[in-house]
């Protein structure tokens, strides 16, 4: 009990701890809230750049007061200097990105290192006059936070938070849809500048606590942590503020217990917090994703089951015969079949499962892909014995465009190498659709919609109704039966050049 008291309560009694907690929390809260917009606008790198550029401003502000008024470490002028440096950096980044073909991230990289370098040179030239510890700015010192820094943090936080609350809708809309924002008359560019100024302000106020290098973490990590948990911007901001505060609290304890650097401990705790949330977040977390994947039924298995039941021709298929024929565990198959019944692909009968109408068309799509792949493989000289096995793998690649391409390449075959019929291309030639006559099967009818120049010799007229007859010459010639009963023979190229609007009902889709 004593141990617990010493570890948890005792530090609260110390003034330095109270001050660190107060200053740190204020800075972290406002950083996290602004950070939400920073990550949604993909400005994280800009935050990093600003914190570095500030160093130059701090040195300039210091020297300005020192050389002109001989005042040592004048806090307000150093603050003003860092703000000016931040704003110069932002403005020059915008200018470079506008006038050159360079993208913004490159412009950021160039300009902030430039400003930072100016600071380094400045400090080294006047090293005899400068009596500030730059390490203080690079590492931060949350435990030794000065009253002036505390005031800066509080004022900056109050200012930025009120801007965030008052203009929440403006920030939300310009970050989500700037075009709409402009169309209702929001000053998009001005809002952008306000946001960047806010980022500069919070960075300036947080640097004295966690240092230049870690401040970007305080800006984006709590916001990113909240992003994994929220689907609304306002809630994300509130939660981010909470995470910012817990980072400071947890970090300070860590720092007291381990006697380590304050800024480091805060960011370490913050990162740890992020990793925990990343793992356990209910929707966007790793654990949830893993569970979802485990519970989900792979598309490949669904397609295998569909294909198997389709080949059984309208006799109900029991789970046992699925287990016997498909290489998959009984439990997985049972889950898959249950999911497919729920999705409306299967219907449960007394003695097994049947395909529904949806299931049938899905199954036919897969079967069509399988047989087209088989024809294609045979066409490319794959040994007969491997055909089925390879096509069984490939049938899961049944993207519509890809299948149409292969179908055309093979001359729209009607049967696969084993003599089995390739299901018709229902997607293309459903009634009412416009399709090339080359994909029509015997018995289908349509109205001629267009005739390209390759087919002008056929004499087909626009609007004429035609019926597809059987293929001839081993499938290489299409027979079109005209209105007057005459037959016109088309080769592949000609058949591709004629488009018809398909007539008929869905009845033709039964296998």
């Amino acid at each position: 009990m004593d141990l617990l008291y010493n570890a948890l309560i005792l530090p609260f009694g110390e003034t330095y701890f109270q001050k660190a907690l107060l200053g740190g929390s204020v800075a972290a809260i406002v950083c996290s809230v602004v950070g939400c917009l920073v990550i949604l606008r993909r400005m994280a790198f800009l935050g990093d750049a600003l914190s570095h550029a500030m160093i130059a401003g701090v040195a300039a502000g210091y020297l300005f007061m020192k050389l002109l008024f001989n005042t040592e470490a004048h806090a307000p002028s150093m603050l003003a200097g860092s703000l000016i440096a931040a704003i110069i950096t932002v403005a020059s980044i915008g200018a470079v990105a506008r006038v050159s073909r360079l993208k913004e991230d490159t412009a950021i990289g160039i300009m902030y290192t430039g400003v930072f370098a100016a600071g380094v040179v400045l400090v080294s030239i006047f090293r005899n006059h400068i009596h500030i510890d730059l390490v203080h700015f690079i590492m931060g010192d949350v435990l030794g936070v000065a009253d002036a820094d505390l005031w800066v943090a509080v004022i900056a936080a109050a200012l930025v938070l009120s801007i965030m609350v008052l203009f929440f809708r403006h920030f939300q809309l310009t970050s989500f849809d700037p075009i709409m924002a402009a169309s209702i008359g929001m000053p998009v560019v001005l809002i952008d500048y306000v946001l960047t100024t806010c980022v500069s302000l919070v960075v300036v106020s947080a640097v004295s606590m966690v240092g230049v290098i870690l401040v970007v973490g305080l800006l984006i990590t709590p916001a990113a942590t909240a992003y994994l948990l929220c689907d609304r911007l306002d809630r994300m901001m509130i939660l981010a503020a909470l995470f910012g505060m817990t980072s400071v609290l947890g970090g300070l304890y860590l720092c007291v217990w381990l006697d380590s650097s304050g800024g480091g401990a805060i960011m370490l705790f913050c990162t740890f917090q992020f990793l925990v949330v990343l793992t356990v977040a209910p929707r966007y977390g790793l654990l949830a994703g893993w569970l979802r994947r485990r519970r989900s039924v792979p598309q490949q298995l669904v397609e295998d089951i569909l294909g198997f039941i389709l080949r059984c021709d309208d006799t109900p298929v029991a789970l046992a015969s699925l287990t016997a024929s498909l290489e998959s565990g009984r439990e997985r198959l049972a889950t898959a079949v249950a999911a497919m019944t729920r999705d409306g692909f299967l219907r449960q009968e007394a003695d097994g499962y049947l395909l529904t109408q949806d299931g049938k068309s899905e199954a036919r799509r897969v079967l069509r892909a399988h047989r087209i792949w088989e024809t294609y493989l045979s066409h490319t000289g794959t040994p007969e014995a491997e055909l089925h096995e390879r096509a069984h793998q490939l049938e899961h690649y049944h993207d519509r465009d890809a299948m149409n391409y292969l179908d055309d390449l093979l001359g729209h075959p009607t049967h696969d190498p084993h003599g089995a019929e390739i299901p018709e291309n229902y997607a293309e030639c459903r009634p009412g659709a416009l399709c090339k006559v080359s994909v029509l099967r015997a018995g289908r009818a349509g109205l001629v919609a267009s005739v390209d120049k390759e087919a002008l010799a056929t004499g087909l007229r626009i609007g004429e109704s035609v019926t597809m007859g059987p293929r001839k010459e081993d499938g290489a010639l299409w027979t079109l039966v005209r209105e007057d009963g005459a037959e016109t023979l088309l080769d592949h190229r000609t058949a591709d050049a004629v488009t018809v609007k398909v007539l008929g009902s869905e009845a033709g889709t039964d296998l």
């Binding site: 949604l40 008052l166 209702i184 008359g185 911007l233 809630r235 994300m236 919609a449 609007g463 488009t499």
Partner: protein, 255 residues
């Protein structure tokens, strides 16, 4: 929201030229779009279709040209125009719900110091009902299907209470059934007196969907009823012959 055909046209564009470099994206484009019509903007890729929409919205500044909305200069008539972005232009991971997106339509009407009131909420609800999305109003937008996503932004445009809706490729990447559903919403908006200007890329359906077509490739090639605009010579000039033209089937024969 009047359907009265007299009075100034919904959109009048005069000598619009927009340029992002040496080659103007739009050049000397003048067109008058009457109110209450469903208008398709067609043309090849990179023809300036989206730029045309963005110029009317005031998001891109024209080098030359004037635009009038119901006879009033466009920069004085903010809020009479609503915009539905291209699906690819939206960050679908943005933490925002269906209801909040639709509420954005009201932002132009709410002063910055006030919160959305009951009237705003009612209008948003009505808009969501009009596109049949009221049941999904608390979903994050990334969890919707393509067609639903499109409808959310339609609801936002409707909630805006604008007389003119500008849509950038609403039919891109959706399946045939969804395309029908979106078209139905467009038709309903038209019946309620709104003017709709829709960037469209599928010439095959353009004639069927729209009352008027604007054919653009940097310049205005044609504006008028589909049967006039979709003439083979004009299209092969604009698309440089890279196009298969579907001749229209005589309507009686189909029935």
């Amino acid at each position: 929201m009047s359907t009265d055909p007299v009075g100034p046209p919904a959109i009048r564009v005069e000598h619009l030229t927009v340029s992002f470099g040496p080659r103007p994206a739009l050049l000397d484009l003048s067109v008058e779009i009457d109110r209450g019509l469903l208008v398709g903007v067609i043309g090849p890729n990179g023809a300036g279709k989206s730029t045309f929409i963005k110029a009317i919205l005031g998001f891109v500044k024209p080098e030359v040209g004037k635009m009038f909305i119901f006879g009033v200069p466009a920069d004085q008539s903010k809020g009479r125009l609503a915009y539905v972005p291209q699906r690819g232009a939206v960050d679908w991971d943005y933490p925002i719900t269906v209801q909040e997106v639709a509420m954005m339509g009201r932002y132009g009407h709410i002063p910055w110091w006030r919160d959305p009131g009951p009237q705003d909420r009612k209008l948003v609800e009505e808009a969501l009902m009009m596109v049949r999305m009221e049941e999904l109003s608390n979903r994050q937008i990334g969890q919707l299907s393509g067609g639903q996503q499109q409808r959310v932004f339609m609801a936002r445009a409707l909630a805006q209470g604008a007389d003119i809706l500008l849509l950038d490729e609403p039919f891109a990447g959706v399946d045939a059934a969804t395309e029908r559903a979106i078209l139905e919403v467009l038709e309903r908006a038209k019946v309620s007196g709104r003017t709709l200007v829709v960037v469209h890329h599928d010439l095959g359906t353009a004639a069927e969907y729209f009352d008027r077509l604007v054919l653009i490739k940097q310049r205005l090639y044609a504006y008028g009823p589909p049967e006039k605009v979709l003439n083979p010579e004009l299209l092969s000039e604009v698309y440089e012959g890279k196009l298969r033209i579907f001749a229209e089937i005589e309507k009686e024969r189909c029935q």
